[in-house]
Assembly symmetry: C2
Homo-oligomer: 229 residues x 2
Amino acid sequence: MQTPRERARQQTMAEIVTIGRRHLELHGAAGLSLRAVARDLGVVSSAIYRYVKNRDELLTLLLVDGYDALGDAVDAAVQGVAEDDPVGRFRALARAVRQWGLAEPACYGLLFGSPVPGYEAPAEQTTAPGTRVIFQLVQILESADHNGRIALGDRTLDPRLAADFSKIRDEKGLTMDDQLVVAAVLVWSALFGAVNFEVFGHYGQTTFSDPAALFEAHLPGYEAILGLR
Amino acid sequence: MQTPRERARQQTMAEIVTIGRRHLELHGAAGLSLRAVARDLGVVSSAIYRYVKNRDELLTLLLVDGYDALGDAVDAAVQGVAEDDPVGRFRALARAVRQWGLAEPACYGLLFGSPVPGYEAPAEQTTAPGTRVIFQLVQILESADHNGRIALGDRTLDPRLAADFSKIRDEKGLTMDDQLVVAAVLVWSALFGAVNFEVFGHYGQTTFSDPAALFEAHLPGYEAILGLR
DNA sequence: TTTATCCGAGAGCACCGCTCTCAATTGTTC
DNA sequence: GAACAATTGAGAGCGGTGCTCTCGGATAAA
């Protein structure tokens, strides 16, 4: 049950986020202006502060919105592949991340680019949506591991790392061994590194005529790291 | 031969870059203000425009400065390891990138974070210093390959990618095969992905008690991708 | 119907990037 | 040494920003 007042407020908030996303696309994170959003909302600049405490709070809203959009895209892509095809699921995840990043570069930049200085994302709002991709990746690997689709060698590990990993395993109810956790974190960061390079244009003058082909050529490398087959 | 006037101008420019770097550290790229730099320079705000055309040009100066600092750090680290130890050289490179990024997070963010919106780095000034790290990496791998320290399987490659790679090989005078180029680009992006995650704090709540150990644990993975031994 | 809450408008503060004009300084040339 | 030109700093000013404050009207709750 919500009063009409709450309804109206909620709708205005949604409209602010929508306008903010558009401005993000057009002018980037640094160019996001509360005054401009207020103008597009058809309201005087000071009125926007009735809904958003400050610029950072609008950034947080857009951050959560972006994490959820990426999470939805990745989940949908993974769900489209059979569970007994872990390689296919992993590739679906990787491609979904890349495609979403290329489709929404400004939003992607807000999520995975340099942090906005002086702005610290409030953990209690952002960690849950922000961990959806790695969570999905771990799910895929955990399931693959159970089905004997992971083949990794053994290597002695730094004891402090092993302790961290034990904790993570306990919290998430996982059974994968340390070596797979190492590989998962490596592939996670590597995947976003590759997408970063492409979205942010860091491949530089070495522009590849077919970036998608380069990405595809990298997938077997990621799978080798994971021992996924 | 340079006139005293040119000397003075050059010194002022250097001072501006120094002040700019400090401001970058303190307030980040988005908070970099020409007026504030002018104040620190002990000059009225409009006078700064005698030296720097606009804010973007100062960003370019800092960008080039940063690329060169990183390149110097990496080169020095690699030179400290014997050439017949390609694994050691690769690790020196990787660790140098990580350490420099952690030591200069704001500068690192300017180089490898989300691009400043509306600002396009002028290629003719930035590509040369901006490619020093990948160039050094390729040098290490090329030399290792010549010495039979690279063992990679064969895989059929997308023909357009193969064409790109041929061109790169010709331009740089390289002899490594396609598979090693793929692996080099993968490791390049993966390395910066890992450093991004750590510098930008994207590992999130999954804070590792010893990030350096995690990084070290990833090094063998990179080397496996490269077939480096 | 009264009361309390909410919300938009407007003025205002300090800051920003950037431009313009003017005066002082400096180095060059006759 | 004097006239000249180039360089540089100061100052005012424009439109923009984030953000705060106060005020008055609309609206829901009592």
